[in-house]
Amino acid sequence: MIQNLKQSLIVSVWFVFLTFPLMVVRVNTMDQVVIWRWMNMVWVAIGSFILSYLWRYMLARQQVRKKVADEGVEIRSRTQLLLEDMSFRYKAMGIILLAALVFPLVFDTYQSTIMISALIYVVLGLGLNISVGLAGLLDLGYVAFFGVGAYSYALLNHHFDLGFWITLPIGGILGCLFGIVLGFPILRLRGDYLAIVTLGFGMIFKVVMENWDGLSFGPSGIANIDKPSFFGMDLSLANSTIYIYYIMIALVIFTILVTNRLKNSRIGRAWIAMREDEIACVAMGIDIARTKLSAYALGAFWAGMVGVLFASKTTFINPASFTFMESAIILSIVVLGGMGSILGVIIGAFFLILLPEYMRAFSEYRMLAFGAAMVLMMIFRPQGIISNLRQTYEYKGSKDKINNG
């Protein structure tokens, strides 16, 4: 008790010291004024005191869990058990689908627009989940593929008047091709190098789009991109929003379906095995280069595809939309939702995109909270909000067979 108190006091004093210059002093070197914000010091002191208790408690809980896990006993939370219950799953899916379908009819255009944004991030998250969550390839330049998709629609639409529906697969395929082209040099790289090189790719994409005027119209971007056409009809804002919303719902369902099937296939297992242990994986006869490329390219595919939709939704794009921060947000969706878990990523996307949208007052603190959440999640709940459900296989009757045979 005394020990804890002492520890927390030390922490509190330490953080007061640490945050003193930045939190308390505010120098305006322009107008030559210093503002002393002593109240902040009090907040820091109280806050860090309380947080240190929380921190210790959480760490202790973590230790206990680890111990139990080490003894071979598995803890499975109630949500997990619930999710493994198939009948519940079907019911829940039905309800959610229904809710998703009636959503734009019940709520106004703005709500639908926000929902479209969130759904775009769902697809992005699911795509990145393939390379980061399943295959364990940290990609910090994922937004580049998103940009490839967006620009391919914007340019094809601008120059050749190609429509949304033709460009949708083209965007995906172009994203995929870029994934393969960029994937080659990184095949030989270890995980950490991969992070910096992909980050570099992301930045290169932006710089090229800013400078290659002839291709991309430079930083002023491309405006007046067509919205998706509905049998050649001109839709009003409200109607076209609803239309895009339904396209997006279909795209999300398609993504979930495909990624889920991939995950539980021979390829998907190879991705996971590669993430778990590359050496053992290659010793099992799996071609690492091909597996890496396929994960990278398939992840890029979704970004390219949803990029097309993004361009058609905003009707204007410029390189400023494809920054590292965007990659970081997508990454935090995957991390917070639960790496490898499809449901987790979906929830993560809704959480991270909708929450700041509805809590505009706190939008300033958005990135601060993202950053902190990424750290805390890694420490206290590395499996994310929803941990990956394991695939179980039923195999009955083999015993009989062997007994008979």
């Binding site: 959503f103 971007g221 009003s236 204007f316």
Partner: protein, 371 residues
């Protein structure tokens, strides 16, 4: 997941109801711009200007007997967020919109307003195609466009400074590169000047010494820079460090006190273009005084333009006698209005007649207008 959806939908319901709930008879002025994030300093002054204008008008009993209600939305200057913001304003029933601040965000949002027949007036989006392309009949602005600014800077360099070799640099951004492109175009067209260098610098790069040396090597007499003040101060500081005497000419994004303070002595002798000096206009000093009384600080960037835009929009509604799109735009195009940026009217494309630029020289740490 289910719980989550229920939670979110309830939340959404409550929020949407709380906004649309009292759709009582008010005139709704939407304000959109960056109010958080690193570009907030460009958006907040215009927002505060709108608040001041609305406060004043409401104190006098409003317009057409109705109170004016502000709908403020943050777009962080990002096109994708701006479309959401615009949709939000449209669904919340804004009659006119003051915004957006950044050209990119404005372009992304304009289509939505156009569909909804809402006049939009930006205090700061200077990108020429916004008006010149003719794509956006609902768009107006209280600031002159980049090409006018570039033309002014170029003419000044050629006629007043008499330079023969010019280097043109930009920050690879929407605004900066647009300005630089026009500057290069006008320089080339003049036939009297050689553009010896046309390049982008990387914002956030550690230093610009190579590019400064390159300017020296190309013997440029003047350097025209398109971009904002952080890069500009870095450039002039390094030029002075490297004892380079090339004349620095830049745009409105640089005409900011930060440039003077950050660059210090190095800024002296530079030229920047900016909206002409308005301190002689009584409405202007009144607005500034009002701001100082309310917030106890100097108003920031685009305060005057924002104030003017809010005033112009609301006055137009009053004169039109309704919030009807056609009526309001007709008034905006036909009748002059007194604002802090002068007595203005809008041309058929939406640019304000009567606003213009001047060239300022930095002397002893202050901008001095050159007449």
């Amino acid at each position: 997941m289910k719980k989550m959806t229920v939670l979110i939908s309830t939340l959404a319901l409550v929020l949407s109801m709380s906004v649309t709930g009292f759709a009582a008879d008010t005139i709704k002025l939407g304000v959109a711009g960056p109010h958080s994030g690193d570009l907030a300093p460009y958006g907040i002054p215009a927002m505060k200007a709108a608040q001041l204008v609305v406060k004043q008008i409401n104190a006098k009993g409003g317009i057409l007997g109705k109170q004016v209600e502000l709908l403020i939305q943050d777009d962080q200057c990002k096109p994708e967020i701006a479309t959401n913001t615009a949709t939000k304003l449209v669904t919340d029933g804004a009659h006119v919109v003051l915004g957006h601040i950044c050209s990119g965000a404005t372009k992304a949002a304009l289509g939505i307003y156009k569909d909804a027949k809402i006049p939009v007036m930006s205090p700061s989006a200077t990108n020429p195609p916004l008006t010149q392309s003719g794509d956006y009949p609902n768009f107006f602005r209280t600031i002159a466009s980049d090409d006018m600014q570039a033309k002014m800077a170029v003419e000044f360099a050629i006629n007043k400074l008499g330079v023969k070799k010019v280097a043109v640099l930009h920050d690879k951004g929407d605004y900066g590169k647009g300005f630089a492109d026009f500057a290069k175009k006008y320089l080339d067209e003049s036939g009297k000047v050689e553009v010896v260098l046309f390049e982008g610098v990387t914002p956030g790069a550690m230093d610009y010494s190579s590019i400064v040396q390159k300017v020296r090597k190309n013997k440029a007499e003047a350097l025209v820079f398109g971009g904002y003040h952080p890069e500009a101060s870095k450039l002039v500081s390094q030029m002075s460090r490297k004892r380079l005497k090339t004349i620095f000419i830049s745009d409105d994004g640089v005409k900011d006190d930060s440039f003077l303070k950050v660059a210090g002595d190095a800024a002296n002798g530079s030229y920047v273009t900016g909206p002409r000096d308005l301190s002689s206009i009584p409405l202007n000093s009144a607005a500034t005084a009002e701001f100082k009384a309310e917030y106890g600080a100097e108003p920031g960037a685009f305060f005057q333009e924002g104030y003017s835009a809010a005033l112009a929009l609301l006055t137009a509604i009053e004169k039109a006698g309704s919030t009807d799109y056609d009526a309001v735009t007709k008034v905006l195009r036909s009748e002059y209005v007194e604002t802090p940026v002068g007595k203005i009217k809008f041309d058929s494309k939406g640019d304000a007649e009567g606003v213009g630029f001047s060239v300022y020289k930095v002397e002893n740490g202050a901008f001095t207008e050159l007449k």
